[in-house]
């Protein structure tokens, strides 16, 4: 199963994400974010951050979950490569993310994501496969 694929959008960048469980969908969305934003292969998992998100419903949770990576990049200068979701229900997500501090000498920022949008976002389950479109503002 593909984790995610790119879709074209004139001004910005969109993906379609898949997962056999809702948790996997969230993990794959994070993987997609890391790959779009930077080069995960160049990032060492030398530090970790706990992320807790509280929102109403999976869609808002998903936007906030990815939004946390942006916030931590802009405010704490951190890039991530891996995540481990510890708990997830409709209103709550708790996860650990691994990465390191952004070093312009070693790390490339491939796409400067400015926001994770709700545009066309719709989590659907069909035949045991969860999927959604996510459009990033870049």
């Amino acid at each position: 199963m593909k984790q995610f694929e790119y879709i074209e959008h004139t001004a910005d960048l969109g993906i379609k994400v898949y997962g056999s469980t809702i948790k996997e969908l969230f993990e794959n969305a994070a993987v997609a974010f890391f790959e779009i934003f930077s080069e995960p292969g160049m990032i060492k998992p030398v530090l970790k951050r706990r992320i807790v998100v509280e929102k109403k419903g999976y869609e808002q949770l998903l936007v906030q979950w990815l939004g946390e990576f942006l916030y931590l990049f802009e405010v704490e200068n951190l890039l991530f490569k891996e995540c481990s979701i510890e708990s997830l229900d409709e209103n709550h997500l708790e996860a650990i993310v691994f990465g390191e501090e952004f070093d312009p000498g070693r790390h490339e920022i491939k796409n400067i994501i400015k926001a994770v949008t709700y545009h066309q976002l719709c989590i659907r389950e069909k035949d045991g496969l969860y999927q959604t479109v996510i459009i990033f503002d870049i």
Binding site: Y71, E74, Y118
Partner: protein, 448 residues
């Protein structure tokens, strides 16, 4: 152009906006319309203050992304050997690109509150600019009703280190010259002559505005359910203007708009300093005066004449520019006779335009006109098209120096990725919702 517009979902987006409660008159699109989220980019819509809604998706993420233009006493020929030093000085003095922060401007939480409440005036009080600048900024550089308590700590955190930075993507600082004058008299009022050097700054509220938009999209998604508003697209989430959610958004949005005004004001100061440092000419002699500063992404209350009656409406402009006509009460004295300057940046390789607001815009488009070229290629496509080409060299061969914090940005921003802004400007000029005054051609560009 119409054929291009039909290629994506932007016209559906215009139709979606027309379905929102309390819209007054048509859901409008400017000729630079393209696919946005929720509202299209280039969308304009006005809402009744009692029955209408306000939507963060009608403003966009980069709240008060906007443009300002400075004039100068310098002529293009006098800069020939100094251009490289000038753009390098600007590059040194103003952080650009991803993750850029200012190390010399430490903003305390109290300062940041003042930025949110006072906008450009805060910067001027701190010595970044002169009080005459204020009259030449839309809303005098401050949207009223800002309440910092309604802004999340996350937005404040993201903003604190980014004030005074250009940002990335399509944001830029550009040195250009007046290549053509279409209206001699108006150009004289703007103090622009043939070959005059100008400086344009395109930037917004950085991460601060993005976070405010993001925070309020969640609030509005819940509010839409609460008030029974059906949404064809979640990004259109909105709330009645009279509701707590609606009022809170407008207050938080004002904070972000004021942050952006202060941001552009700070950069104006550092541009002036850079010219002063490199040319070693007193600031007064350089005449780097602000022509105007306009918002491209904003919602605010303005007064219009509808069927002979004055009526206040909440106007959303998302990728559109206010274009008030001559004699409008909000205009500064020196522009009363010509109307409000409208600044339309093009892509980095071609040209930009200065227009003036018109009576027709007031009647037909709620005092609005286009805002720029609009992309025709996605960033990915642009990278494919530019593969193997040395874009910075190509630009230098055309006589345009380019400095950029990120190599990719320059490639993503190639001319071909944008519509020809002259065509967009031609449409608004012919439609009478903006009057062309001068054309500017770039000499040196700092890209994010």
């Amino acid at each position: 152009m119409l054929r291009d517009i039909q290629k994506d979902l932007s016209l559906t987006q215009v139709a979606n906006v027309a379905c929102l409660p309390g819209i007054v008159g048509p859901s409008l699109a400017m000729p630079d319309i393209h696919w946005g989220y929720g509202f299209p980019i280039g969308g304009v819509a006005a809402f009744d203050l009692d029955r209408g809604v306000v939507s963060p998706g009608g403003v966009g993420y980069d709240i008060n992304c906007g443009v300002r233009l400075m004039r100068s006493n310098l002529k293009r020929n006098s800069l020939k050997d100094k251009l490289k030093n000038l753009i390098d000085a600007i590059y040194r003095n103003i952080p650009a690109g991803v993750g850029s922060r200012r190390k010399d401007l430490k903003l305390s939480p109290t300062d940041e509150s003042k930025v949110m409440k006072n906008g450009a005036a805060w910067a001027i009080e701190q010595g970044f600019g002169i009080s005459q600048d204020l009259g030449h900024i839309e809303e005098r550089g401050c949207i009223s009703g800002a309440n910092p308590e309604l802004v999340s700590n996350k937005a404040k955190d993201r903003g604190r280190s980014q004030l005074g930075t250009v940002g990335s993507g399509n944001h830029f600082i550009e040195i250009a010259y007046v290549a053509e004058i279409y209206q001699e008299e108006a150009a004289k009022v703007l103090r622009l002559e043939k070959d005059s050097v100008t400086i344009m700054i395109h930037s917004g509220s950085r991460g601060f505005g993005h976070q405010v938009c993001d925070d309020f999209l969640s609030v509005m998604l819940e509010a839409s359910k609460k008030y029974g508003i059906e949404l064809p697209d979640k990004q259109l989430a909105c709330a009645p203007i009279t509701s707590k959610e609606g009022k809170n958004y407008l207050s938080a949005m004002a904070c972000a708009a004021n942050f952006a005004f202060a941001n552009r004001q700070l950069m104006t100061h550092w541009v002036r300093e850079s010219f002063h440092q490199v040319l070693d000419v007193p600031l007064k002699e350089l005449g780097l005066d602000l022509i105007y500063d306009v918002c491209h992404n904003i919602a605010k209350v303005e007064e219009f004449n509808l069927q002979g009656k004055k009526r206040k409406l909440c106007i959303h402009r998302k990728g559109a520019t206010r274009a008030f006509p001559p004699d409008h009460p909000t205009l500064p004295l020196d522009y009363k006779s010509i109307g409000q300057p409208v600044l339309i940046p093009g892509d980095m390789g071609r040209y930009s335009f200065v227009l003036l607001g018109t009576k027709r815009a007031m009647e037909d488009t709620f005092g609005s006109t286009c805002h720029g070229a609009g992309r025709v290629m996605s960033r990915h496509q642009a990278i494919k098209v530019a593969k193997g080409r040395a874009i910075i060299r190509e630009m230098a061969d055309k006589g345009i120096l380019v400095r950029s914090a990120g190599k990719r940005t320059v490639v993503e921003e190639i001319s071909e990725a944008y519509k020809d802004v002259a065509k967009v400007v031609n449409v608004v000029h012919m439609a009478g919702i903006g009057k062309r005054v001068v054309k500017l051609i770039p000499l040196a560009v700092l890209k994010g």
